[in-house]
Symmetry: C2
Subunit: 268 residues, 2 copies
Amino acid sequence: MNTSNQPRPLISLVGAGPGDPELITVKGLARLREADVILHDALISPALLREARRDARIIDVGKRHGQQRIRQGEIHALLIRHAQAGRFVVRLKGGDPFVFGRGGEEAEALEAAGIPYEVIPGVSSAVAAPASAGIPLTHRTCAASFAVVTGHRKQGNGTISQDWEALSRIDTLVILMGMHNLARITAALIAAGRAADTPAAVIQWGTTPQQVVVTGKLQDIAARAGHLSPPATIVIGDVVRQVEAARQSPRLTDYEPYLNAGRTVLQR
Amino acid sequence: MNTSNQPRPLISLVGAGPGDPELITVKGLARLREADVILHDALISPALLREARRDARIIDVGKRHGQQRIRQGEIHALLIRHAQAGRFVVRLKGGDPFVFGRGGEEAEALEAAGIPYEVIPGVSSAVAAPASAGIPLTHRTCAASFAVVTGHRKQGNGTISQDWEALSRIDTLVILMGMHNLARITAALIAAGRAADTPAAVIQWGTTPQQVVVTGKLQDIAARAGHLSPPATIVIGDVVRQVEAARQSPRLTDYEPYLNAGRTVLQR
């Protein structure tokens, strides 16, 4: 295939995965290693950034809670400017680019600018953090649906603008960015009719060696897990019962040395 | 760290990702290359199986719709037997192991048998197939929640046992394994109050070169996409509007030759 007429530049919106750097996709890692410029979120593993070319330009455009460091419009401008200069740009985003990461807005900006781009999906912490704690989001006996919501959207009156009544009826509920509002969210779900004794868990730093899991019930998880700071994933539903069994099993990390013998793909 | 006392065997439940073999995780691929025995689902890319060791035993335990080839209990028995014989077993599952794949049941069976295992998450087609069609599941302007359901559970009277009224109120709805019941599902959502002109899409063979995308409205997507056979991912919600803009952008695959120059990680 003759590729000489392929337009350049190209931007790749890459999902970095949930925390463990080896949970990036094979394709995402290939793009990262090829990039001229990398614009990355906060909370991206340093092990991933070490995979960049030595001469790659690495720009931290991460925004932290309540402290906007670079505005979204500036990220768009940076993407477009580097691409128009003929550089291959990787936009490295935590989790999946299209799950609560404003990747949709970035894609729109690139379309409006006429810049060809691709999206390389990533493993979302919505799925992987529970899995790492032994919690399947679905289970034939107790969960045939799951919903994923953000818990940080506020209305003027301080309530979170989600349809908690509808969400209370989904088998498994996963809440991202919800730690600051956890007490309000659990109260809203109970008020909407979800049983107060529904199992619940919070997974902080899921899939990383720093992972912490706190379990409880819908009525007490906010009190039990209130000391955990972001990043954390909240799971509510009968599937959380699985975690107790899983905990009796040895920890994954106990086996890493054996499994990875001589084969660790990324430098730690 | 002294690993000589690490128990063997170990089983790895690995998510193969949504179709494109390069969307497996780096860690999942490392396990696959190390396995003594691989038990895999149907629809796993041959390119992934070619990554196995030459002497690995590869067993297809895939079950196709309406044609159970190996019962779930037999899969559990195979996993346990090979692990007890001291073999490192990879259970390679489409998408993510814990999103509608009975991975939760397999984990329970291994716990009951006292066999240590790990779960390596994968990119779910629920997220990746829409992304590959240019559809973000969330968007700041129109979607702060998404739900993922299976469309193949039936009650005695032929209706699908989901709370369609609650699901009709979630911003973005993704339905897996729903093609056989698509007309019933869309009718149930409209009856529950979801607007009949809500944008909808079906993505068949998402993320692969055979990908087909059909768009429409909730009221006509079943008729428009009825000719598509599984595997297919159904998306309903305002985020589907994004796909039209994305289609005006060049196709990803147009750029693959340039991007992958000399760097394709997996043999095709």
